[in-house]
């Protein structure tokens, strides 16, 4: 299974990438705090995180469980609102958005990739990919055409009418990536995308994501512990105990330390 070659006109036909020169901030978080209340117990999941994510960047977020990594991840993805502080996605303060506007944001700005793929089992691969398009109000015929194009791009052009259960894990994750790309998002949010895959398939997935970043200019943010993925990313962010501990490029990091084993 190798990723299909990407021809430039195929991409141009599918997407209209916004290639702005220089470093443009796409996500900005300012002193974000999140408190969960269960009864009288307060849990401070985030205790003041400030960060900037640039357009077209490949960012990996690391952190032990309970570090606040998922909370930060959800907030960047517009899935949750902060208790205090601001999160701007493409210059929009998500705290100002109501449920429908958040849905609009998730639909068009962000593509999600899940650890366990989360494909809808009752639908074919193509229907899975066209589902977000139907949420965006794209008519069936256009959506199907575009969906076939994207599936072809991720190397599944020959499997469009299969059900997800008929595919291997790697193929399912490819469908999920195609689905994330459905509405030409600016950001792709990947939650441990290689955790359920073997080394080789995981590597292919990382290459596919890197390729999409290079050709389409999408920003890729992933929560991961996969060494290959960390090495491939532009920056790595450590979260610990509700705070951002360190941000560094892979070249500055010694991957042989015990942190990575």
């Amino acid at each position: 299974m190798t990723p299909a070659t990407l021809t430039s006109e195929k991409i141009e036909g599918l997407f209209a990438p916004d290639r702005t020169s220089g470093k443009q901030v796409i996500i900005r978080a300012v002193d974000v705090k999140k408190v969960y209340r269960t009864g009288t117990l307060e849990t401070h999941a985030l205790r003041g995180a400030t960060l900037e994510i640039f357009r077209g960047e490949y960012l990996s977020i690391m952190g032990p469980s309970g570090s606040g990594k998922s909370t930060l991840f959800n907030m960047i993805g517009g899935l949750n609102k902060p208790s205090s502080g601001k999160v701007y996605i493409d210059q929009v303060d998500i705290a100002q958005l109501d449920a429908n506007e958040l849905a609009w944001l998730r639909c068009r700005k962000i593509g999600y990739i899940f650890q366990s793929y989360n494909l809808i089992g009752t639908m074919t691969c193509l229907e899975n990919v066209t589902l977000p398009m139907s949420f965006a109000g794209i008519d069936g015929e256009t959506a199907r055409e575009k969906g076939v194009g994207i599936l072809d791009m991720v190397g599944l052009g020959h499997r469009v009418l299969h059900k997800p259960t008929e595919l291997s894990g790697g193929q399912q994750q490819r469908v999920a990536i195609a689905r994330a790309l459905a509405n030409s998002p600016d950001i792709i949010l990947a939650d441990e995308p290689t955790a359920n895959l073997d080394q080789t398939t995981g590597g292919e997935m990382i290459e596919l994501l890197a390729k999409l970043r290079d050709t389409l200019g999408v920003t890729i943010i992933s929560a991961t512990h996969d060494l290959k993925m960390l090495k491939r990313s532009d920056r790595i962010m450590w979260i610990n105990d509700g705070l951002i501990e360190r941000v560094a490029a892979p070249s500055e990091i010694d991957f042989s330390t015990s942190d990575f084993h």
Partner: protein, 329 residues
């Protein structure tokens, strides 16, 4: 779009959908059987009473005229013919009456069911050789008719109705029976009690149905937690998620109600048919009555299904999309 999602969902979870639908089928079948039982009981009671009434009228009439075999009966008909009057005439034919001479100033022909009726254009010779003149329909005899009837001295003049004929000044044998007041009060009271009991039972049945559907839809929500969360992550609006549950419930409601209403009707007919005989039960059921209770039952079933979907639908739509990211669900 939501419709396709629902259809695929039902197809995949066919077993559970059928179980949910069985709940609706049972509820509506129960509702329908109660309604049709009421209809049958009322119809059978009315039918039995009508049959007794006709027998009694025949008795009255033959007491005046003697045996009717081979004789002629004259009928003066004006205004609307009641069901009992028509059946009385049919019963007379069955008794062996040779001929029914039919006079109708308005020119209304005798009912097709009367095989021995012959239309006469004028009431010339009062009743001719008829054994009796039967006044049919609800009217006050006019002067001309009154004199004609008075001339028919030897003939028996009879009517199934009393109200309008009472002050006509002619000796009319009344075949109708006057219902005593206490009797009608008692009948009314019994009907009221019956209605209250039916409403109570029907309410309980529908509540049970609603709870059954709600429970089953809630199960479907928990089963699809990840799917719903994923759809929300992909940009589905809460209204889309609500739609899914309302459509699913409505589909199950429509199909289940139709099956249930049919089953309930058949059940009621069989049960009462075994007690009263199928002929009487089927005669007691009027098509318009069946149509009405059928519509009521199906509407009740669909409405229950939609009411039952309110809570599961809002529960599902309020779900946090981040749930989909949690992999252990």
């Amino acid at each position: 779009m939501a419709f396709e999602v629902v259809l695929q969902g039902i197809k995949i979870r066919l077993g559970r959908s059928v179980v949910t639908m069985m709940g609706i089928v049972l509820g509506v079948a129960f509702l329908m059987s109660i309604l049709s039982a009421n209809l049958i009981r009322k119809g059978v009671a009315g039918e039995t009473e009508a049959r007794q009434e006709i027998q009694r009228m025949l008795g009255f009439l033959t007491a005046e005229t003697g045996p009717l075999n081979g004789r002629t009966i004259a009928v003066f008909h004006q205004a609307a013919l009641s069901d009992v009057e028509e059946r009385l005439l049919i019963a007379l034919e069955a008794k062996g009456v040779e001929r029914i001479t039919w006079f109708s100033p308005a020119g209304t022909p005798p009912p097709a069911r009367l095989r021995k009726a012959v239309a006469a254009s004028r009431l010339e010779e009062p009743g001719g050789d008829a054994a009796a003149i039967l006044l049919a329909g609800d009217f006050v005899p006019e002067a001309e008719l009154r004199s004609v009837l008075r001339e028919a001295r030897s003939k028996v003049v009879a009517s199934a109705r009393t109200e309008s004929m009472a002050n006509s000044g002619i000796a009319i044998v009344s075949l109708a029976r006057e219902l005593r007041e206490e009797e009608s009060v008692r009948a009314e009271k019994a009907a009221r009690r019956d209605r209250a009991r039916s409403i109570w039972i029907i309410t309980i049945a529908l509540l049970v149905t609603i709870i059954c559907i709600t429970n089953s839809l809630l199960m479907s929500v928990t089963e699809r937690f990840k799917e719903i969360g994923t759809m929300k992550c992909l940009g589905a609006l809460s209204s889309f998620i609500r739609q899914i549950y309302f459509i699913e419930s409505s589909i199950l409601g429509v199909v289940g109600s139709l099956i249930g209403a049919l089953a309930g009707l058949v059940f009621a007919i069989i049960m009462y048919g075994l007690t009263y005989g199928f002929g009487l039960v089927l005669a007691a059921l009027s098509p318009s009555g069946i149509a009405l209770i059928f519509v009521i039952s199906v509407a009740g079933g669909i409405l229950s299904a939609i009411i039952a979907a309110i809570y599961p639908a809002s529960f599902a739509s309020r779900m946090v999309p981040a749930t989909a990211l949690r992999t252990n669900i």
